[in-house]
Assembly symmetry: C2
Homo-oligomer: 158 residues x 2
């Protein structure tokens, strides 16, 4: 890990403090870097924006993708003040950066009252055993959407 | 499952078709219902919005939370045209609806070229064994953010 990596992480931590200080949301910040330059930043805004998806990483991904005019973070590094929750890690997998650095981990988050680990465990459970019930409905009509998609000739894949 | 449940799912499938037809993104739609009334809708907009987080469920969650002026989907039911990917399922856990209905499943999504199952498996792997490398950096400074959070007297928890 280079000094530059540490500087970017300190910036992510500073954003977490700033967001927490202004009551934007929880104590989380994130910086996205491409070729040594910051291309996206975010901090948690869940409670101020009424948006449960506005975690620091999601906000930073959206910021970077807007600035880069791309739906991919190819060649980017992500610096986040805390280990990503399943939502944010899933978002990062879709965005496909080249590396992810985190400071605090999921145990620290649990200590702070954020139950990321509970959600990690829920995702591993079979569909019928989760605390939020999931049920299958109209499976044939759902599957047919993918036949339409595969036949579509002018689609953009991702 | 009631006829009303099926009607809401058909609406989600219709949104998926509409989004696909207008080249907004992949073939996915979502409807959120509270007390029998639609309070949020979304379809995939990843490629048109340059936003890898703009899956149908995330778009619908943000729409419903804006309309309800809440960062929680208490008492809501979610109808999505496909089993949620890990990002979307994580988002739903943070939003806490009372039930989730899905039409197509993750195997159907893989058939259509959407590798949700790969991401599910990645999330279950230990941090050091994932295809996107994750590394820990400045753990003490990261953890200290939660000490600040716990001491903060005017915070909104979620």
């Amino acid at each position: 890990m280079s000094e530059a990596d540490k500087d970017f992480m300190r910036r992510a931590i500073e954003l977490a403090q700033r967001g927490m200080g202004s009551n934007a949301g929880g104590p989380f910040g994130c910086v996205i870097v491409k070729e040594g330059r910051i291309v996206g930043e975010g901090w948690n805004r869940v409670t101020s924006d009424n948006d449960p998806t506005a975690h620091a990483e999601v906000v930073a991904i959206r910021d970077a993708c807007t600035r880069l005019s791309s739906f991919q973070l190819t060649g980017c590094k992500v610096y986040t003040s805390c280990e990503p929750c399943p939502m944010c890690l899933g978002a990062l997998y879709w965005a496909r950066p080249e590396a992810i650095f985190f400071a605090a981990n999921r145990d620290d988050a649990a200590y702070g009252g954020f139950d990321d680990d509970f959600i990690y465990k829920e995702l591993e459970r079979p569909i019928g055993e989760r605390t939020i019930p999931l049920a299958n409905l109209l499976p044939d009509e759902g599957r047919a959407l993918f036949d339409e998609w595969l036949k579509k000739t002018d689609k953009t894949t991702y």
